[in-house]
């Protein structure tokens, strides 16, 4: 099927206000689908601007958004709610930095919750590609802390 024909189908979809289109012929098959085909979802929740520091919890929607940054990267999600620290003490070096290799047992950060410092393990082997949270920032459950390219 030529790209022109697909373009033509898309124009038809738009012009006719279609949500989905499927076409199957002996030598090809195409399925086109618009967003929202499955109903009004609640808009991604956001921290209201009034929530100044220390309340800048990342919006819940950031998880999927961030995860989309590069194909093949996987997040290390926060297993608990708390405050994120990159190093064991204010003066100390960060547990990990971008480019470091980690394995499942590597400690990558500390999350403080109820005055307790919880060491967080990578639970995955690979290379730290990006640190997603600033030192000292609050994190919620499931929020990506690091993006890792798996080994």
């Amino acid at each position: 099927m030529s790209l022109d024909k697909i373009r033509e189908l898309l124009t038809m979809m738009n012009d006719n206000d279609l949500m989905e289109m499927e076409l199957e012929e002996p030598d090809f098959k195409i399925r086109l689908k618009k967003p929202g085909a499955n109903l009004p979802t609640v808009a991604p929740m956001q921290m209201a601007p009034m929530m100044a520091a220390p309340a800048q919890v990342a919006p819940a929607a950031s998880a999927p958004a961030a995860a989309a940054m590069e194909a093949g990267l996987i997040p290390i999600p926060s297993p608990i709610v708390g405050t994120f620290y990159r190093s064991p003490a204010p003066e100390a070096d960060a547990f990990v930095k971008e480019g470091d290799a980690v394995n499942a047992e590597s400690i990558v950060c500390i999350i403080e919750a109820m005055k307790i410092m919880n060491e967080i393990k990578a639970e995955v082997s690979g290379e730290i590609v990006k640190v997603m949270v600033e030192n000292g920032e609050p994190v919620e459950y499931g929020q990506p802390l690091f993006m890792v390219r798996p080994a």
Binding site: P40, M45, A60, I80, G82, A113, M114, V139, E140, Y141
Partner: protein, 446 residues
């Protein structure tokens, strides 16, 4: 007054608390499990924090996660709603130890009310009627017979170690009590290895009537009248109303006074509900719920007060702004619980997707809910989707208004209790308030 409150709950009660906070100019922080990311309380709060996966014990019941969420969002108070951690004294203590106000009573008064026999004794000492019966186990059949004659038949014999309905007998006279005690003892010995029995007056046709109390931290207490929650199915409340069609103003006042005597004895603060069984002019203390209740809007509708606002003001140290004489009940109100349950299949829960949700609107009604068209009901939590509260000038007017509102309620995609409620409104025993706590269960058998 607080500037930011975390709501340690979900569903309609979380949304409802947000409403009052917003009106009072208090910022709100919602917490949510992964299953509730699309829930309305998340969208309506000023901020929201994911605290864990779907199972409650790892999210809404997980104290460290909730406290951490409170700390990172720097709130000065936590409202526990009902259910979940609302009657957990340890959670209240943890909050307060971290200088976060817990919007509810002290853990001490929670503990006093959680201890059922202690609460019963406190009630008796405060002159609050309790269901007459033996003090602990009876020593002999003769003692049992004497007691039964004292408190009057019918009585119920229960095995002290009992459970599952075994070792229970109802007796209407000496003869049946004598044989009942023997049978119950034998059954209990066989089943539990312990034949000790106790005896209570058997209330055959009780109504469930409860008193809403409001107590500040300065020793001021008022009650907001009663709610009648007799329309229950297997002890699950389905319809609640106020005032109760069963009691007169003298009983109302006496029950209100009794509830406040108990609160005074317990040093109770914040809002709570004292539950009674009522039959033929007599009322008997059952238990006290040390939190806001599902059916609180019924009282709000008739009194014009906002009970959540009172909770918040009390927890922030304010004095009550009303005295007992300021509380006037206006008209009649009824609440209908709209649950995702199939009345035709024994009220089996029906999680699923709500295709279209268009609740009734217009005059004299209130809907408290958290769902919307396209909402997927997670299977992890309870089945209540919405509460419809109807206000009328009297009970008849309220029933007519409720009928129009329920008939207009569009909730497509899952089975709900709406058809059940419509049936009740056409049931002459319901309409004539000629029923007791066994009514719905009896109707279901027909």
């Amino acid at each position: 007054m607080f500037s930011r409150i975390l709501i340690a709950n979900r569903g309609e009660i979380a949304v409802r608390i947000i409403r009052t906070c917003r009106r009072l100019g208090i910022e709100t922080v919602a917490v949510f499990s992964e299953a509730d990311r699309d829930s309305l309380h998340v969208r309506l709060a000023d901020a929201a924090v994911c605290i864990g996966p779907a199972p409650s014990n790892r999210s809404y019941l997980h104290i460290p996660s909730i406290i951490s969420a409170a700390e990172i969002t720097d709130v000065d108070a936590i409202h526990p709603g009902f259910g979940f951690l609302s009657e957990n004294g340890h959670f209240a203590d943890v909050c307060r130890s971290l200088d976060i106000a817990f919007i509810g009573p002290t853990s001490q008064s929670m503990a006093k009310m959680a201890d059922k026999s202690g609460a019963r004794n406190m009630a008796k000492e405060s002159g609050v009627p309790v269901c007459p019966g033996s003090e602990g186990v009876i020593g002999s059949d003769e003692e049992g017979l004497q007691l039964a004659r004292d408190i009057g038949y019918p009585v119920i014999v229960k095995a002290s170690a009992g459970g599952g309905g075994r070792g229970i007998r109802v007796a209407h006279n000496d003869v049946s009590l004598r044989s009942g005690m023997q049978q119950a003892r034998a059954e209990a010995e066989a089943a539990f290895g312990d034949g000790s029995l106790y005896i209570e007056k058997f209330i055959e046709h009780p109504r469930h009537i409860e008193i809403q109390v409001v107590c500040d931290e300065h020793g001021n207490m008022i009650h907001l009248g009663e709610r009648d929650c007799t329309t229950q199915r297997r002890h699950q409340k389905l319809i609640e109303e106020s005032p109760s069609p069963a009691i007169d103003k003298y009983t109302r006042r006496a029950m209100g006074d009794a509830a406040l005597r108990l609160c005074k004895a317990a040093g109770y603060t914040n809002v709570g509900t004292v539950e009674f069984l009522y039959e033929k002019g007599q009322y008997y203390f059952m238990e006290m719920n040390t939190r806001i209740q599902v059916e609180h809007p019924v009282t709000e509708m008739v009194t014009g007060l906002d009970i959540v606002e009172e909770q918040i003001r009390i927890a922030s140290g304010e004095k009550l702004r009303y005295r007992q004489k300021d509380i006037v009940a206006n008209g009649h109100a009824m609440e209908f619980r709209i649950n995702a349950e199939d009345p035709a299949r024994n009220f089996a829960p029906c999680p699923g997707k709500i295709n279209m949700y268009a609740p009734p609107q217009g005059e004299n009604i209130r809907v408290d809910s958290f769902v919307y068209s396209g909402y997927k009901i997670p299977p992890n939590y309870d089945s209540m989707l919405a509460k419809l509260i109807v206000h009328g000038k009297d009970r008849t007017d309220t029933i007519a208004r409720a009928r129009r509102a329920l008939a207009e309620f569009i909730l497509d995609g899952v089975k709900t209790t709406i058809p059940f409620h419509l049936t009740m409104l056409d049931n002459s025993r319901f309409v004539n308030h000629d029923f007791d706590i066994n009514f719905v269960d009896e109707q279901m058998k027909l």
